[in-house]
């Protein structure tokens, strides 16, 4: 049935478990295991598959033109399967950000984009969605090549979701409503929801195209212009997508894409005096720096989607097999490189031992290898830095006395592959239970009762998401309201949809993306007041 297609592709919800087979190989591996390397087999001995795509765009996109960086400098973007260079990409710096902001400013102040009827903006975004569909595999191949995520995930889930998001925001363009407002006296009052202006947007490397969509979708639907900085690890797919958006009819200067590094291009965008709004997704430490730059410069409003250490709570009434599968997915999806990864698996003591045993077995079955190969669940980590960081955390887990159930080391001798790793007997004060590891490392903690798990789940500087695994409505309601997080997934995880808002409590960030809430980030509210003479009613 098509009814659950979109949400179920990214979720392991109990009710749709049968249709969601892309990543869950737990109980039906046999038919798929031919040609798939279990991590116990060295993958890297095989030559990497040649990606079915050519890199056509490596320059900056400014004012509708692909151009070199003002400095002429480039940086290499690397294939995480091998560490080898895919392409040399123009390296944007302050001067390029200035050029891009000037183009966006002009496109905003002089039009045509914000002056265009919303229906026309909608049509351009809809045409863009159609072009994304037509270039699905090309976009997916670039995404996998640059990022290392399984091609099937890119091609069957993420790129279709990208098109879906653009259609969703296209539909908002002609439905942005201000209000007429009551007043204490004879006044006529209205609010106008106006585009905020030039938006600066900085996106991370873990979901390059989806983060691109989350950012530009609401900004463009509301009539803003944009300067977007991609992550230096993954500059490629956004450049192709942006070319398609121009093919769909986007006027020059409305969307400018600058590849480059955080301390240079990112910092000059965050501190630019002529940028009206900033949106950032990335680490909490960088988010703090971005917010400071915004405050020091022109006080631009900032939305932040930052790190997380999200609890996944398995209650005592849970069906262990499904809970194991969902918890596995919650952590290992996208090589564990998800800000909302369920990275603290709290399991009720009554089922703890069984759960650990099965979680270990599931991790052992996880197919790791060349992400272009069919049936692969896990590719390499993004780069050396992340790779080393994850291995360091694994060492600290062992040193601190957690039980390493499986994994714990690199896979092969080339590229950034790490074996799916499971720790049990993890204590709250261990580093692996506190820090965001951003890798394939599951930490399983034991708990006794609901109040205890609420307290422990909330004792984190983060508050992005939580998973709750129970069939009891009262338990679900209590946990839902008690957890200080921006998303609670009950009997599902990573269920993303264009309409569901996403964002963090506490140090996981400010504001919400997606859904109707995301529009507020890109709109100014103007109250308009005028006296009424002889009003028929008030």
């Amino acid at each position: 049935m098509a009814t659950r297609r979109i949400s179920s592709l990214l979720s392991r919800s109990l009710t749709s478990a049968s249709s969601a087979t892309l990543f869950s190989r737990g109980r039906n591996t046999s038919s798929l295991s031919r040609g798939i390397y279990k991590y116990s087999t060295a993958t890297a001995v095989e030559a990497p598959i040649i990606p079915p795509v050519t890199v056509n765009h490596t320059q900056l996109l400014i004012d509708g033109q692909f151009v070199n960086a003002a400095s002429g400098k480039t940086f290499p973007t690397l294939d995480p399967r091998t560490g080898e260079v895919i392409a040399h990409v123009a390296e944007g710096d302050a001067e390029d950000i200035n050029r891009a902001v000037a183009a966006a400013r002009k496109a905003f102040d002089e039009g045509p984009w914000p002056k265009m009827p919303a229906y026309q903006r909608q049509r351009i975004l809809l045409r863009f969605a159609d072009l994304i569909d037509q270039h699905n595999d090309e976009l997916a191949a670039l995404e996998t090549w640059d990022n290392g995520k399984p091609f099937e995930q890119s091609a069957k889930i993420e790129v279709p979701m990208f098109a879906r998001l653009m259609r969703y925001y296209a539909g908002w363009a002609d439905k942005i409503h201000g209000l007429t407002v009551p007043a204490d006296g004879p006044y006529h009052v209205q609010t106008l929801h106006e585009p905020i202006g030039v938006a600066g947007q900085i996106i991370p490397w873990n979901f390059p195209l989806l983060m691109f969509a989350w950012k530009i979708g609401p900004a463009l639907a509301c009539g803003n212009t944009v300067v977007l900085k991609t992550a230096e690890q993954t500059p490629l797919s956004a450049l192709l997508a942006s070319r398609l958006l121009h093919e769909a009819g986007l006027p020059s200067g409305v969307l400018n894409v600058v590849s480059g590094f955080g301390p240079t291009a990112g910092a000059s965008l965050a501190s630019h005096m002529d940028v009206d709004k900033l949106a950032f997704t990335g680490s909490t430490s960088t988010g703090k720096a971005v917010l400071q730059l915004a405050a020091k410069s022109n006080l631009k409003p900032v939305t932040l989607e930052l790190g997380g250490k999200s609890p996944f709570i398995v209650c005592e009434d849970a069906d262990v097999d499904t809970a194991v599968e969902l918890a596995h997915f919650a952590l290992f999806f996208n090589q564990g490189q998800c800000c909302c990864a369920g990275s603290r698996t709290f399991v009720h003591e009554r089922i703890y031992d069984e759960f650990v045993e099965k979680a270990k077995a599931r991790a052992l079955k996880r197919s790791v290898g060349d992400p272009f190969k069919g049936g692969i669940e896990q590719g390499p980590q993004i780069d050396t830095e992340q790779f080393n960081k994850i291995l360091k955390y694994i060492r600290s887990g062992v040193e601190n006395g957690a039980t390493l159930e499986t994994g714990g080391e690199r896979l092969g001798d080339k590229g950034y592959y790490i074996k799916p790793t499971v720790f049990s007997n993890v204590k709250d004060d261990m580093l692996i239970a506190n820090d965001e590891i951003f890798g394939p490392v599951q930490t399983i903690l034991k708990y006794k009762d609901l109040d205890e798990v609420i307290r422990r789940a909330n004792s984190s500087p983060y508050g992005l998401a939580a998973g709750v695994f129970t069939h009891n409505i009262d338990t679900a309601n209590t946990l839902t309201r008690a957890l200080r997080v921006g998303t609670v997934w009950i009997n599902c995880f990573d269920t993303f949809d264009a309409a569901i808002p996403f964002g963090g409590y506490k140090m996981s960030g400010h504001g919400r993306e997606k859904g109707i809430y995301s529009l507020q980030n890109y709109l100014q509210v103007k109250a308009v007041v005028t006296p009424l003479k002889n009003a028929a009613w008030l």
């Binding site: 009814t3 809809l126 908002w172 309601n477 008690a482 009424l532 003479k533």
Partner: protein
């Protein structure tokens, strides 16, 4: 006198073969159970265009059964909004690909201007489908603030099987304004187009099927109000009915709904809409809006500016300009791109309008221009303007639904408001002035569903319209209309140990 453009266009305009003349039920074109048919007439000539299956009560029963099944068991309400949207976007694309043929069908059925159909009416159909497609994945309920330890939220669910009764003056636009939000909401439906204009609705049904709208979701039963229409209004298995048409027929729909299963009713009915022109208005612009306000679509539009009130300071200037413009107005074959006004829809309307013109003369209004039929064939009427119309005259009270304007003078703002409101209708009003205070005062004082300030016919997908008083209730267009097709369900459950309430 409106000039009559009588060039023969039969050779230059290709009238397409009429492809669909049967009822569309459960995804198939079928004959009516009785086997009966009725004629649809070309108002340019009074000749028969095609014979159309005549649906009656038992055909409505079949259609409702299909719609019920599609709602209770079919995929449509169970698809995610985004999937319904995708199918609707395809439907919109198909409509755009068939603009010419659809515009032609409305022209030979309703006498509407072909150029207008091609440039405005049919593209607007596609844009409304897209607008509501974009709303299909944005149906939000609310989580509520309970005063005790309860968690509560509202679900906005599709209301079920809806009956949609569409009039003949805008066969395409009104089909789309009812069908699109119902589709987006996840409803299934039985549409009855007007017996004068069945052709385009059947063509839309065909396109909907091509787009992938599942069987039973959209059913079209052609036929008459007293039989097929009445069967919809009184059906025990239809959850809501949305009707556009005359106030008399609307009253019957509401009565039948009340007498049967108390189905939810929305009515968009007649009007006698005032256009108020104040002393500071630009005379040329005011005369232009007043004229288009009454002559657009030959006056066959519920929101026609059929009463024009001009402030005394510029009354003579506006009247002169208006008459001058009316005389230059071109009436003739609606396929001719030079023509501004085609024939009235049928003989009955034609006669009714001429009778009202006679009333106007008899009651003592001054006939400034027009007042007669044009040509020997078809249902053409001259643009007609009466001045010095008093509020108690029939031509100031009744909806004529033809190219007949009633003019009067006013002195003060209060008098303008009082005159504007002295009607049983309340559909729209127009205001022409640059004075902000006049605009605000008059906008709030007139009891009508839409106020157009320094513009007229400013319809938009996002802009609800509908009536006060006997112009009906409920709104078409915008998200207001969307909510007509959604039920609200509150879900409540106790909370234990909630950290906040």
């Amino acid at each position: 006198m409106g000039s009559h453009c009588n060039d023969s266009l039969e050779s230059s305009i290709k009238i397409p073969t009429i492809k669909f003349t049967q009822l569309f039920i459960n995804g198939e074109f079928v004959d009516s159970i009785s086997g009966k048919t009725f004629e649809t007439i070309d108002p340019r000539t009074g000749e028969v265009t095609a014979r159309i299956s005549e649906g009656d009560k038992e055909d409505i029963d079949l259609a409702v059964k299909a719609a019920r099944h599609a709602f209770d068991y079919g995929p449509w309400p169970r698809l995610p909004g985004s999937a319904r949207a995708k199918i609707m976007m395809k439907f919109a694309d198909l409509i755009e690909q068939n603009v010419e043929e659809l515009a032609t069908l409305d022209t030979i059925d309703a006498g509407k201007l072909f150029s207008m159909g091609k440039a405005v009416d049919i593209p607007t159909v596609a844009s409304a489908v897209r607008y509501y497609a974009g709303a299909a994945d944005k149906i939000h309920g609310e989580v509520l603030k309970m005063s005790g330890e309860f968690h509560a939220y509202t679900l906005r669910e599709p209301i079920g099987v809806v009956g949609l009764i569409v009039p003949w003056n805008f066969p395409s636009t009104l089909f789309s304004l009812k069908v699109s939000p119902a589709l987006a909401a996840g409803c299934t439906m039985v549409v009855k187009p007007a017996e004068q204009t069945p052709l385009s609705a059947l063509f839309y049904a065909h396109l909907a099927k091509l787009a992938g709208i599942p069987e039973g979701v959209l059913n079209v039963v052609t036929g008459f109000g007293s039989t097929a229409g009445a069967a919809i209004s009184s059906h025990m298995d239809i959850d809501a009915v949305s009707f556009t048409g005359s106030t008399e027929a609307g009253r019957k729909v509401a009565q039948a709904a009340a007498a049967s299963n108390l189905k939810v009713v929305s009515l968009e009915l007649g009007g006698k809409s005032p256009l108020l022109i104040f002393d500071d208005a630009d005379v040329d612009m005011a005369a232009e809006l007043a004229l288009i306000g009454i002559l657009h679509n030959k006056g066959e539009i519920c929101v026609a500016s059929s009463r024009v009130y001009v402030q005394e300071g510029i009354y003579d200037q506006v009247v002169n300009k208006l008459v001058e413009k009316a005389k230059a107005w071109v009436v003739g074959d609606p396929f001719d791109p030079k023509v501004q006004q085609g024939p009235q829809v049928d003989k009955r309307q034609f006669r009714k309008i001429l009778t009202y013109i006679e009333h106007g003369k008899r009651e003592g209004a001054t006939l400034l221009t027009g007042g007669k039929p044009l040509g020997e064939k078809g249902y053409y009427i001259e643009p007609t303007i009466f001045a010095e119309v008093k509020e108690d005259m029939l031509i100031a009270k009744d909806e004529i639904f033809g190219p007949v304007l009633a003019l009067a003078k006013f002195k003060t703002i209060d008098e303008a408001i009082q005159k504007a409101n002295s009607t049983r209708y309340g559909l729209v009003a127009g205001i022409i002035t640059k004075d902000l205070n006049v605009v605000n005062t008059v906008s709030r004082s007139i009891r009508a569903g839409t106020i157009w300030v320094n513009c007229y016919f400013a319809f938009d997908n996002d802009c609800p319209y509908g009536g006060y008083k006997m112009s009906g209730f409920g709104r078409d267009s915008g998200l207001e209309a969307f909510h007509k097709y959604l039920q609200v369900k509150s879900v409540v459950t106790p909370l234990y140990n909630s950290p906040w309430l």
